[in-house]
Symmetry: C2
Subunit: 316 residues, 2 copies
């Protein structure tokens, strides 16, 4: 069973227990396949069918907006990474990809260390890529120095993001997929796109039996300096989430986020509107694994036993 009993009288302990219980239920039913690293899982066939079905539902929900479809891979140009302040704001979440670039002699030295069980990774060199930290990040550099058409652009993205935050919570994975709708244009267009999607996405989740609620939010900025950034982000209402309890009522899970970046990416990558102003950007992100986890938690472990209306909506 994916629906596990939780008690609500001793919440601090129960939240941790609820994570473990739900994760174990997902593993027993084959939806998640442990890899030995917290937050890194294989996915079973039924889990993937639910992800694909929901992904297709988002396509239908956004089709009238006629976005340009692009898909970026899980790795990201290091030079672009170094332009976007991630190293200042979220260094603890980064994934830097390193490789071996030596010859036979250096290889022998590295293998000798490996065989002595010493740290062999200091023989490695940074590759020209980082793990993709957020799936819309590769989009903006691809528009470097461009001027948008009249009315700006709409782009549809999907892909894997990496965040180094090992956790027992099955909804906090280190590698997970986001589906995103991005708007690039003038500030009012971008902001109203984001705000309209809050209602549209809420209705979409609600139609699947997931009554997610909007909540102002902030990103997990690093360190002492990060507190001020988080406060500013909230004060300016730059980030909203749609949250729903999965394992804990007190600590509901964000299934989606709605982010207004102001002119951050437009400025860094020299993207201009048709009118010649610095472009503003916003993204609307569906957390695909989290939404699947919420569906399994709400409706049970076996998709064929889900309510008929939910199955019909998803085409399952």
């Amino acid at each position: 069973m994916c629906i596990v009993q939780t008690q609500h009288d001793d919440l601090a302990l129960e939240t941790a227990n609820a994570y473990t219980q739900y994760r174990d239920a997902l593993v027993r039913s084959g939806h998640l396949i442990p890899t030995g690293v917290p937050g890194v899982y294989g996915r079973g066939g039924d889990f993937e069918r639910v992800i694909t079905a929901f992904d297709n539902l988002v396509t239908r929900a956004g089709a009238e907006l006629n976005p340009t479809v692009m898909r970026f891979p899980p790795i990201f140009n290091r030079a672009h990474y170094e332009q976007i302040d991630h190293i200042s704001n979220f260094p603890d979440l980064m994934g830097s990809v390193h490789t071996f670039m030596g010859g036979d002699k250096e290889h022998r030295d590295m293998l000798a260390k490996f065989e002595r069980r010493e740290d062999w990774t200091n023989h490695l060199t940074p590759a020209r890529v980082m793990m993709t930290p957020a799936i819309c990040y590769p989009l903006y550099p691809s528009l470097t120095g461009t001027q948008l058409p009249e009315g700006g652009r709409r782009v549809d993205l999907q892909g894997f993001a990496f965040r180094h935050e090992p956790s027992e919570d099955p909804a906090r994975m280190q590698i997970f997929r986001m589906r995103e709708q991005v708007r690039i244009g003038d500030p009012s267009t971008v902001r109203s796109f984001r705000d309209r999607w809050i209602g549209r996405a809420r209705a979409l989740l609600s139609s699947l039996g997931l009554p997610a609620e909007p909540a102002p939010a902030n990103d997990p900025f690093f360190g002492r300096g990060g507190k001020l950034l988080a406060t500013n982000q909230r004060r300016q209402e730059l980030k909203y989430e749609l949250v729903l309890p999965i394992c804990s009522v007190e600590r509901p899970t964000a299934l989606m986020s709605f982010n207004y970046h102001q002119d951050h990416f437009g400025e860094v990558f020299g993207i201009r509107t048709a009118e010649g102003e610095v472009a503003h950007t916003a993204c609307v992100g569906f957390g695909l694994e989290r939404i699947a986890l919420a569906l399994f938690k709400t409706h049970g472990c076996v998709p064929s036993a889900w309510p008929a209306e939910v199955r019909r909506r998803l085409g399952l």
Copy 2:
């Protein structure tokens, strides 16, 4: 146009030129989106539709075998990586994921280096993951210490693999998707599964206008010692490919590979057959980006203008 003119009189130069010309044609038509790193591309909507259509065709082609569907992410447990000899055989292809685990003070030190444009990556620590080097590698450790049911197992995989081999050839990407059919069992079952798939896959590609030919092959083992391993692999007929010219007749591209691992993974991860013997494994891999590139090269840039029979087979 995706079909570019190539001359066949000066082959050494023409191969390099053909790579660049084909890549540029793919970029102009929006199928590949440059990221500034050789071999790392975003994919356009039509390119992705072709990948999805072909992926669905493989599902139908293999459905009668009723495989267990599993999907592993682009990152892979470092402890498992260290068990499989990749560091000996293919160190130059590896991707090791590193992250920042310090506090505020260490962060200030790293940022100071970053701002002075010095190498800041020596402040990083290896994370517990590597890039997934081949998409069936995560499967075998997930079966550690198990005994297979009677008749063994069939598993269906799809996912991203990373190989650090920057190239101008659009068919040699650093990050790409493989669809795989894996067989685990006794040697004769496993070997005949692999061999039967050579014919089945050849017919499948041929039905799409891709007359790929089988060829014995070897993996690109590293260094001087690697030459012997490659020779042995060919002598034992452990690896076949289905190859087709994309940019060069003399250097055709492998669209698929068929690999018999003997008892390598069964031994390392303690996987046993129902009869108690060490399990043998084989994998059949479809290179999804390469197959899409071959389709665009053969039939042209615009899928809606492809031959009716090809579109019908793919459901495009």
